[in-house]
Structure formats: structure tokens, C-alpha cells
Amino acid sequence: MIEIEGITKRYDATTVVDDVSMLIEPRTIAVIVGTSGSGKTTLLRMINRLVEPSSGVIKLDGADNRSLPGYELRRSIGYAIQGHGLFPHRTVAQNIATVPVLLGWDKARIKARVDELMTLYQLDPEAFGPRYPHELSGGQQQRVGVARALAAEPNVLLMDEPFGALDPIIRNKAQEDLLAIQKRFGTTIILVTHDMEEAVHMGDKIAVMDAGKLVQYAKPAEILAKPASAFVETLVGASEKPFRLLSLGRVRDAVEKGTAEGEAIPGDASQRDALAELLWSGRPALPVKGDDGKPLGRVTVDGLVKRAARPA
């Protein structure tokens, strides 16, 4: 659990983070969104004390984050810096191994972990491990940056726009991988992004920042349904709202009785994908199948359209 209590950061006369309080439940993902310069990075960096707050307290699992020396605190927290920040003079494998080496893991364990992460991020350890960062594409560098943050299996992970340079396909994959890792290890993640789509998809809760202030901190559905201000409304994108709302739900939760023609859609797919498929194929209904392939029923355009409406 991360408790941020009345955190303020001032540089001379300008307040870049203004009295922010938020509570991040253990094993959840909090996504911070906001315009450029709104203080997202600064807030994130006060958690691992790369920036010291002007006032306020941050507690990790109940303990003040100032109770440890800064460097020890930071070894226990994964940090994917904005723009990857890989060490140009170290190979990809050495970059990923940074924190495990600092923690004094033995060689075999480090190698196993590096290979595991590289494989997860589709970088062949044999081919890419000995390369230097400048020999990688921007997207590959970014994945190495994320792998480096994950290397020591931290309980808390801070990620500053980690998927910005990835193409949609790899980004999707990286998001799914991160969700899988988060579920498996119960990692608490704070992720900064500019991409509302990503925020709605990844976040258990979304924090919206504007000019240093936290203007809304709530579940994605609530942010979409009840934006706290015109600013949040604009950020969410008025014309996108119904689709973002649908993207939060699974098809299995929208199943109706009955049957339909054509190929079945898996119950795990998002309702948005189902609606897209229905609209594109011009059909009124689609069959739905469970994980085991057995028919669950059908989804209809009418049913999904109702769900896309503003919640009461």
C-alpha cells in the first residue's frame, strides 16, 4: 500500500505538485494522467525520493519512505524512467542486471532472471544480450528499460510513460504482459501515461492531474461517468466516452440468452471489441463462447448500446 499524504513540491516560487493525497491499494495499478508539465513525473519521483518533497509524507506499507537511506529504498522499488535512460556503456544484459547486481545476487540467478525477462519482452537473449543500447530500436530500448525496472522483482513499480515509443501491437502485448506480471507477483504499480486508452485499460484507479493538483482520483468507470471537471471531461475525450466505458467490460458480462449465426466471440473479449465486430459485420447479434469453447449465449447491438450509455 502506498499512502501519499499532503505532498507538495515547490521549486522556488512555483508549486509543481500541490497538496496531493492519494491512497494506492496493494496489488493494484494506479494510472496518473494529465497534460504535459502537470507534475506527474515529479509526483512519481517523490515516491522513490529522487525528488524530496517540500512538505507531506509518503508511506509504503505503513513505513515512512524516509526511514531508509534513499539508495536502499530505490533498490526495492522498480523505476522505469521517462525515455528509458539506459546506460549507453553497458550491454542490454548488464543494463537489465543493474539492480540485482547492486543487491548482490549470485551470477546464475542474475543470468536466469535476465534471460527470463528478455524472453518475455521478445528479445532473444543470445542475440540482444551482448548488444549495446544504441544498437537497438527505440521500442526495443524502451522494453529493455521496463525489463530493467522489473529485474529485482520489486513490490512497487513506478513507470513513467513506459510504452510511449511502442507500436500498437507491441504496446498491447507489453500492456498484457505487465498486467500478467502484476497479477502473478501482486506488484503495486503506479504508471504515468498520456494515453487515456491505456489509462482506462490498465488502471484500477485513475488519477487526473492538472497544474500540480490532483483533480480526480477514481475508478475508470467513475472517471468516465462522472468527470469531476470540464478539464477531466476534455481529457477523457467526450466522443470516446461510450467506447471507453464498453472497453472496461467483458463480453461474458453482457451475454443474453439465445443464439446467433457466425463465428463465436470469446467471453473474455472486451465489449467494445464485440460492438466493433457487430457494427463492422452489420449483424444484430454474435454468439459467445466460454474458455472451454462451449456456447454461452449471444451479445446484441441493442444490449451493448444500452451498456454504452451514461450510467445512472
Binding site: 522513490n48 529522487l50 539508495y71 536502499e72 529504498l73 530505490r74 533498490r75 526495492s76 523505476y79 524512467i81 521517462q82 525515455g83 528509458h84 535512460g85 539506459l86 546506460f87 549507453p88 556503456h89 543493474t98 539492480v99 547492486l102 549495446y132 543500447p133 544504441h134 530493467r148
Partner: protein
């Protein structure tokens, strides 16, 4: 294709030829006597005969090496000190100290050092040391203050201590630039070391001075040429090392 071949081979070939020539000259100067003879008058010796050229060359190099190593250690340590948060206030002071070392004429340093430490190698070492400081210090400062900010931040974010950041990230990344300073300093020292012979230091300056005193152009020329050849070769070698480290540190674009 052929042209590219020549372009890449020619410099190496010239370098090799220069090395061979230099080694041959300092080990067997007698071979070159016919070449230098026309420069002498009254049947004066064409080859330096008051000591071995090889010994003088090695002593010359030793003096430069000792002075450069000392200057490197002090200059880099100073640059590290003034780029730490605790030392920033000393930055202007250390800059001016090092600048004074540079503006003081080397002859004056020698003149002042002799009464204090006596004749011989010591005053020369002091002069070369002071002269070598500035380029190394300036470059080390440039290197340590122009590191890519988010790489240094990533090092902090990973939980490196100040010392670990310095030794694992900051110094390796500054190495090519620091080496550039060392290269400049060495070349300056190679030339400056010759004046050390005015206070009885055993350097190649001895050959030049002997030539000047006896009006023997052959001596002056051979002393000067050996120093020049050493400077070119060492400059070249250090440049190559510098390029190699720059590539390794991923800083070649700069």
C-alpha cells in the same frame, strides 16, 4: 574500391614507417650520419656524442609520463570534487588555481623551483605537472557536467550510491573526454620537457641545447625531430584509444 583501400592503409603505413625510423634513429644513430653531415661545419660531429640518444629519449618519456600521471590524478580528483554537491562552491577557486598554473611561463616555474628543490628532474616535473593540469581538469569538468541527465537519474533510480554512480556511470561515460584532455597535456609536456635541460634535467632538450651552444645545426635538428616524432605518434595513439572508448561508451555521436 582501390582508393578506399589506400585511404585506410596509408595512415597506418606512415605511422609504422615513422615508428621504424624513430627506433632505428635512437638505437643506431650512426646509420643516419651521412644525412646529417652536410648540416655541420668544421668537421663537427653530426650525431650527438655526449650521451646515448636512446637513454635521453627514454628519460624524456619518463619525465613526461610521471608528470602526466600526477597531473591526471590531481586534475580528475579536483574535477570530481567540484562536481559533487558538497564541492560546488570550490568550483571557481579550483578553476582559477588551475588557470594560474597555465598562465605562469614554464621558464619562470623552473627558475622558482630550482632554489627550492635543486637542479635536475624535479623542477621540470613541477613545471610539466602544472602545465598538464588545465587541459585535463577542463575536459574532466566538461565530461562530468555534460552527462545525459536521464542516464544519471536512471543510475540514482536504480539505487546506486554516490560512489557507485561515479565509478560505474559518470567516470566511464566521461572517459573519452578526459582522455582528450590527457592527450593535449601529453603533447604540451613532450615539447615543454625540452626546456628542463636548462636546469640539468636529462631530456632530449640536452641535444638541442648542445647544438645551440656549439652552433651545430645537426644536433638541434635531431633533438627536435625525435621530440616531434614522439609527439605525433603519441597523439595518434591516444586519439585511437579515445575513439575506441567513445564508441564503447556510446558517446560517439557527440
Amino acid at each position: 574500391m582501390k582508393e578506399a583501400g589506400i585511404k585506410t592503409w596509408l595512415p597506418s603505413l606512415l605511422r609504422l614507417a615513422l615508428v621504424v625510423l624513430l627506433v632505428a634513429f635512437v638505437t643506431n644513430p650512426g646509420w643516419f650520419e651521412p644525412l646529417l653531415k652536410p648540416l655541420t661545419e668544421n668537421n663537427a660531429p653530426a650525431i650527438y656524442n655526449q650521451g646515448s640518444l636512446l637513454t635521453l629519449t627514454l628519460l624524456h618519456l619518463r619525465t613526461v609520463l610521471i608528470a602526466t600521471v600526477a597531473a591526471t590524478i590531481v586534475a580528475v580528483a579536483l574535477a570530481i570534487l567540484v562536481t559533487r554537491p558538497a564541492g560546488v562552491e570550490f568550483l571557481p577557486l579550483s578553476r582559477s588555481l588551475v588557470n594560474i598554473g597555465q598562465t605562469f611561463p614554464p621558464v619562470a616555474v623552473l627558475a622558482l623551483a630550482v632554489p627550492a628543490v635543486g637542479f635536475g628532474e624535479k623542477p621540470t616535473l613541477i613545471a610539466l605537472f602544472l602545465y598538464g593540469l588545465l587541459p585535463i581538469f577542463e575536459n574532466a569538468l566538461t565530461g562530468l557536467t555534460t552527462l545525459p541527465a536521464n542516464v544519471v537519474e536512471a543510475a540514482r533510480g536504480a539505487g546506486m550510491t554516490g560512489w557507485q554512480r561515479l565509478t560505474k556511470v559518470e567516470l566511464p561515460l566521461s572517459a573519452p573526454i578526459i582522455l582528450g584532455g590527457i592527450r593535449l597535456s601529453v603533447v604540451i609536456s613532450l615539447a615543454t620537457a625540452t626546456i628542463g635541460s636548462t636546469v640539468a634535467a636529462k631530456t632530449l632538450g640536452e641535444v638541442i641545447i648542445a647544438g645551440l651552444l656549439s652552433n651545430n645545426l645537426a644536433f638541434v635538428l635531431q633533438g627536435g625531430l625525435i621530440v616531434a616524432a614522439l609527439a605525433v605518434l603519441i597523439y595518434d595513439g591516444l586519439s585511437a584509444i579515445e575513439r575506441y572508448t567513445a564508441r564503447r561508451m556510446g558517446r560517439e555521436a557527440e
